[in-house]
Amino acid sequence: MAITITESAAKHVASQLSRRGKGIGLRLGVRTSGCSGLAYKIEFADERKPEDISFEAHGVTVVVDPKSLPYLEGTELDFTREGLNEGFRFRNPNVKDECGCGESFNV
């Protein structure tokens, strides 16, 4: 059971965290929303809750709540550039389909 994070994603997380000046790492999760069921949550983590599960990769701590973990199992978080855009991308093997806008997904 694990969630991984690529080196380039880790670098961006670390630099954004240091620019923000606080936070213990990154919180990933899913919430119900959008047109296709679930949406990703990617936030700065200010604290670790007792029930959280955490992962370390390239020096970055990633915390996930136990409710979200089954949906994210095996996910790799990457940071990519697409044309003028850059941002994080979830490579989630559980995803069956996504809605057109990419805002939400289904397992």
Partner: protein
């Protein structure tokens, strides 16, 4: 798949269906009502003539009840039916009223609380206060354009339980939804934003028209605690007027004046006092009924000298309060000035010297208590802005949400959200022409409604018929400071609404909450499977329904063989729909989609042809 950015924790946009919240300073001599405007600024609501105050006077006249300025004149013409200073009688028996004989009333000793016999019958102080509050409520409703949803009423810090309960009863009698009683000094501190700090000790110096109160407050983690109170119930701005009045008599060598002259000179004395807050000297000019002409000039230095003993009199209770709190003047982080009499420069100077720091005076000292109450009411009603993390009150122990298609629970207010909280989410209709929506409010962390606790159900009816997914129904969850949940649903295009209120924590012990939480962690995987199955079923129903509708409308587009294939795929979807295999349901839906792909294309063609039929090419551009 869109690229994502990291967001701040819990950055879910909170909607703002503002509730009409007011703060009321129910004073001994004057009362005020204030609110927080949409731009976040607290203001006192004036009457139609622009007067901010309501004199706390109620006149039970032969033709009805008059409150405020309308009742002032009756004080002299009909004293027995004109009640003033009832705040002093709140929650008191006749025996408790030391100064009962100072009032011109026919007191009736009743169990619990004294009553006053008036033309309109025996009135308890609660009923009289309710009449004042009713006038304030009417003023607020006129200004805010609708009924008041939330009110905070202030009481002196030294009020005991009986007096507080009496104040609450009065508000209830006046039809005001009182969220909380707030100590007057705390309200003043809130108005100055002192509650935004983490910790601190503050003095609130409240010198009104006739009373003086000093309170020492300690702020810890967003909550004010009253460490000590003291005061003098017979010391106020009126005493300063009286000193100036005596000075006039002496300086102008006036023989003992008639009551009219005495009133005139008191008025001139007051004007001079007020003028000296901004000038070095004030003229005192009057012509008495004896034809004596008075033409004096009172200098600031003179005023300072004649009122020195009064100033010293205020500092004695301040010293006592500090001693009770075990503090030295230098220990205080701030001093708040309340009451019109604190406008006097002598008072400000003396207080500043005593505490070794300039007191806070930039808010109107008459209004500061009402403003603080309004800010508190605004926050308690759930109107606060993001980032206003004052008033650490409580959190929601379990998420609140509602049931969506397929028996899934959609969370609207997440667990651990700080009370009070307001969150809204938009939902839509599932079926073409759907005119009603059942809203099932649930509590819990599990994915399936069956595993959550059902709190309430209600229906939103009268949705205008629209295509499935076109209606926009905004469901708002609001939890107030007492943990009371109200859920409202509003269809955005037609404006129809339905709402319900429940108490979510009712009947839940800490153990049960802990168990519900533990269950949700342990069953995370099961819940995911359940969600997948439920979603697949919803999708199956949806596709089957759409196929049925299409076959009815355009079934003639299919050859018999094609029709048989579609029917078979449809039957398979229906066959597996009730099984437990989400993958099988999804596969069947997929197959139906494939079987109907060319049918859908032909329907589209027919639709386009119909739309274009009979139109010339050049009109289509």
């Amino acid at each position: 798949m869109a690229l994502l950015q990291i967001s701040e924790p819990d950055e879910v946009p909170a909607p703002k269906p503002r509730r009409r919240a007011i703060g009321i300073d129910l004073g001994t001599t004057n009362s005020l009502v204030a609110t927080v405007r949409d731009d976040g600024i607290a203001i006192v609501l004036p009457d139609s003539e622009g007067r901010p105050l309501v004199p706390s006077i109620v006149h039970y006249g032969p033709s009805g009840v008059d409150v405020g300025y309308d009742a002032v004149a009756a004080q002299t013409s009909d004293p027995q039916n004109t009640l003033v200073s009832v705040k002093r009688m709140m929650g008191r028996g006749l025996a408790d009223l030391a100064d009962a004989r100072r009032f011109p009333y026919r007191f009736v000793d009743a169990p619990g609380m004294v009553r006053v016999s008036t033309r309109a019958g025996d009135k308890s102080p609660v009923e009289v206060s309710a009449d004042i509050l009713r006038a304030l409520r009417a003023r607020a409703e006129r200004a805010l354009g609708g009924p008041v949803d939330a009110a905070v009423v202030t009481v002196p810090a030294y009020f005991d339980d009986a007096q507080r309960q009496a104040t609450k009863d009065a508000a209830r009698l006046a039809g005001l939804p009182v969220l909380r009683l707030l100590n007057e000094p705390t309200a003043a501190a809130v108005a100055y934003g002192l509650d935004h700090g983490v910790e601190g000790t503050y003095a609130v110096f409240d010198l009104g028209g006739g009373t003086f109160d000093i309170s020492i407050l300690k702020l810890t983690r967003g909550v004010f605690e009253v460490l000590a109170t003291n005061g003098d119930s017979a010391l106020g701005g009126d005493d300063f007027d009286h000193r100036v009045y005596c000075w006039i008599l002496e300086a102008a060598k006036v023989p003992p004046p008639s009551p009219e002259d005495s009133r005139l000179l008191l008025l001139r004395a007051r004007e001079a006092k007020e003028m000296l807050t901004g000038h070095e000297a004030a003229p005192i000019v009057a012509t008495l009924s004896t034809d004596q002409r008075i033409d004096l000039s009172l200098t600031a230095a003179n005023f300072s000298q004649i009122t020195r003993t009064l100033i010293e009199k205020t500092l004695a209770p301040v010293r006592r309060a500090l001693r009770d709190a075990g503090l030295k003047p230098a220990d205080l982080d701030g001093v708040v000035m309340v009451g019109g009499a604190t406008r006097m420069r002598e008072v400000r100077r003396a207080v500043g010297e005593f505490f070794g720091q300039a007191p806070l005076t930039n808010l109107n000292p008459d209004e500061v208590v009402a403003l603080g109450a309004a800010m508190q009411a605004n926050a308690l009603a759930g109107n606060r802005e993001r980032g206003d993390d004052w008033l650490l009150l409580d959190v929601i122990p379990l998420s609140l949400g509602l049931e969506t298609m397929g028996g899934l629970a959609e969370k609207v207010v997440p667990r651990n959200a700080t009370l009070p909280v307001t969150r809204a989410q938009e939902f839509t209709t599932w079926r073409d022409g759907q005119t009603a929506m059942a809203i099932h409010v649930v509590q819990g962390e599990r994915e399936r409604v069956a595993d959550c606790r059902s709190l309430a159900r209600f229906e939103l009816r009268g949705i205008p018929p629209m295509a499935a997914g076109a209606a926009r129904i905004r469901v708002t969850f609001q939890v107030d400071a007492d943990g009371l949940l109200s859920v409202s649903a509003r269809e955005q295009t037609s404006g129809i609404e339905a709402a319900i209120a429940v108490k979510p924590s009712y009947g839940l012990s800490d153990d049960e909450i802990a168990r519900m939480l533990r269950d949700s962690f342990e069953h995370a995987a099961d819940d995911m499977a359940a969600r997948m199955l439920a979603e697949a079923r919803v999708e199956a129903d949806h596709v089957a329904m759409a196929t049925d509708a299409a076959l009815t409308a355009d079934g003639d587009l299919l050859s018999p063989e094609e029709r048989a294939e579609v029917d078979a795929a449809l039957a398979r979807v229906r066959g597996v729909r009730d099984g437990d295999d989400a993958a099988a349901v999804r596969a069947a839906v997929e197959q139906l989609n494939r079987a109907t792909a060319s049918f859908a294309a032909r329907r589209m063609d027919r639709g386009v042809r119909r739309a274009l039929a009979g139109r010339a090419v050049d009109t289509l551009a």
